[in-house]
């Protein structure tokens, strides 16, 4: 098992005037296991803690209690650059402060592979190009990122994430936060196909958060249902995404809104 979390809890510091008051937990007592090469979807309504859990698993946030282990090592005590070579994160949306070309963005994925004053070499260029090829964005290499469509941007950021990860496929995990939330149907299908391809051919372990049940059911090999920061169920989509579970998850009457047909 490359990635596992045990009794994970986290709460954001309160924004008000009483910083010492205990804040509510965004993630509480979560224990999960992600197998090699799995494609896991974290499902839940808005505010259920999906993104927080993703950031905890990826080591961007440090848990208040519990641990995240990657190949037997604690993610939050691993040196940042070493962690970044095994774990990459694709945020929901990327807003650049300054505009870069697509190739420059992909090359930024090589950051954890270079020393403080080191400049990218041929092998970094090759990794960036491989990432762009794998996501079908090689022809965009010299375009400016901010002139791309939402779907193209998403794929370029995935390319940078692939360039970031070590060649060794056994211990690399790609996290995606709501990869389809801001995309229209055509791009949703493109991203879904891309993730399946990465899963089938490159055997990348993928963990994504989504509130789109159909997307999760069609793409993921396993889903985790998250409600108010707690795990309701975990398993293959066919077993977990039952009308009863969905009704509990979204607190709706599923018979009135037949969204899923698995």
């Amino acid at each position: 098992m490359p990635l596992s979390a045990a009794h994970l809890s986290f709460g954001y510091p309160p924004a008000g005037l009483r910083p010492h008051e205990a804040s509510p937990l965004a993630v509480s007592g979560v224990s999960i296991v992600v197998d090699h090469g799995a494609l896991v979807g974290i499902l839940g309504p808005n505010g259920s803690g999906k993104t927080t859990l993703l950031k905890l698993l990826a080591g961007i946030l440090t848990p208040r209690a519990g641990t995240v282990m990657l190949d037997g090592r604690n993610v939050s005590t691993m040196p940042a650059r070493e962690r970044a070579r095994r774990v990459a994160v694709v945020p929901q949306e990327t807003h650049l402060a300054f505009d870069y070309t697509v190739l420059e963005i992909a090359l930024m994925g090589r950051y954890p592979h270079l020393g403080p004053f080191e400049v990218e070499g041929p092998q970094d260029l090759a990794a960036a190009e491989a990432g762009l090829e794998a996501t079908g964005t090689g022809r965009l290499a010299s375009r400016m990122f901010q002139n791309l469509s939402g779907g193209e941007r998403q794929r370029v950021i995935i390319a940078a994430a692939l360039a970031q990860l070590d060649e060794d496929e056994s211990s690399r995990v790609l996290f995606l936060d709501e990869p389809t939330a801001s995309l229209d149907l055509k791009y949703q299908l493109e991203v879904a196909a891309l993730l399946r391809r990465l899963h089938d051919r490159q055997h990348v372990t993928i963990v994504l958060s989504t509130h789109d049940l159909r997307f999760a059911a069609s793409v993921c090999t396993e889903v985790i249902l998250l409600s108010a920061g707690r795990v309701l169920a975990q398993g293959p989509p066919r077993e977990v995404l039952t009308p009863a579970a969905i009704a509990e998850l979204y607190e709706i009457d599923v018979s009135a809104a037949p969204l899923v047909s698995t």
Partner: protein, 337 residues
């Protein structure tokens, strides 16, 4: 797609443009001393037959104009590079070296010593402005840290802008207590002036600037990643909080040093980075050196205009940078979209 069709490393393609900016700076430093209300000739400046005490051309060159050109290069290059770092830190292309209160602190320090100066121990107005800048930086940093575990750039921005306004009020208060001579001197200082008249102020500021530039060199790549967002940078292995702290203190140090030499000269720190990004793109490893060299050349050019446009009257260079900079910047904004 064939391998031959793929572009080479983008960084490498920017290097000639950075070299071009370097050449522009060297040419400007070499040429500026020969521009001025009194014409001087190269042959006479370097003539060995006349002793220095009798060689007017050499005196004008080495005492008045060369230090001034070098001061312009130091101040212009430093302010432009500090502007780049502040813009990267705040993820905002409209940030300037003065956004976070450094210049207001420096000005307050300078004003206080000009008005009540007798008791100030060493270094005169320059060291007082540096002390004021340091005070402002520490207050802003303390505020930005007070309620957050990390460094909040939003609080940094709000604290800086507010402190700017507060210090400006204090400056007016100090001015109100000054006599006419002191007020005139203070006003001239605020306009920005590079008439250093010796190498001493340049040499005093140089070590601080060098320390800042070593930090800038280290910051170039982390600032690229911070352009993608703090979380994105963190997930790629950047220690974002440390990079932000280093950026804030090094850029503030550089700005304080530059202002102690030339006063709060405006617009360099925002115009030059904008122009340079159009030339070399956004990679900070290109933008930082290119802005440094081009900023140096640009301020030397502005100073040459300031010295000659109403000759024999010499205008403070801050008036010229604002006169050129303001409309030019507006033109850039209109042209962009």
């Amino acid at each position: 797609m064939t391998r031959a069709g793929l572009p080479s490393l983008p960084l490498r393609r920017g290097v000639p443009l950075v070299a071009l900016c370097l050449v522009a700076m060297i040419v400007a430093i070499g040429a500026a001393p020969f521009i001025g209300s009194t014409p001087i000739r190269v042959a006479r400046v370097f003539s060995r037959s006349t002793p220095f005490a009798d060689n007017i051309d050499a005196q004008i060159f080495f005492i008045a104009r060369l230090p001034r050109a070098l001061a312009a290069a130091l101040v212009g290059g430093t302010l432009a590079a500090a502007g780049v770092v502040f813009q990267g830190l705040l993820r905002n292309p409209l940030a300037t070296p003065y956004t976070l209160g450094v210049s207001a602190g420096a000005s307050l320090g300078a004003m206080v010593v000009m008005t009540f100066g007798a008791a100030w121990p060493v270094g005169g107005v320059a060291s007082a402005s540096l002390a004021g800048a340091g005070l402002a930086v520490l207050v802003v940093y303390w505020l930005a840290r007070a309620r957050h575990s990390g460094l909040s750039t939003t609080v940094l921005l709000l604290a800086g802008v507010t402190l700017n306004a507060f210090f400006s009020a204090l400056i007016l208060f100090v001015q109100y207590l000054s006599d006419f001579v002191q007020t005139y001197r203070a006003l001239r200082w605020l306009m920005g002036d590079l008439d250093v008249a010796s190498f001493a102020p340049i040499l005093a500021a140089l070590p601080l600037v060098l320390v800042a530039f070593i930090a800038f060199a280290w910051l170039a790549r982390p600032l690229n990643l911070i352009s993608l967002g703090a979380d994105a940078a963190a997930s790629r292995g950047v220690d974002v909080e440390r990079a932000q702290r280093v950026a804030f203190f090094s850029a503030s140090l550089a700005t304080g040093a530059a202002v102690s030499v030339g006063g709060p000269i405006g617009f360099i720190g925002i115009i030059v980075p904008h122009l340079v990004r159009r030339l070399v793109g956004s990679d900070h490893r290109l933008v930082l050196p290119a802005s440094t060299f081009f900023g140096a050349a640009f301020l030397i050019g502005c100073d040459a205009v300031a010295r000659t446009i109403l000759a024999p009257l010499e205008l403070p260079v801050g008036i010229i940078t604002a006169l050129i900079g303001g409309p030019f910047f507006l033109w850039l904004l209109i042209r962009k979209r």
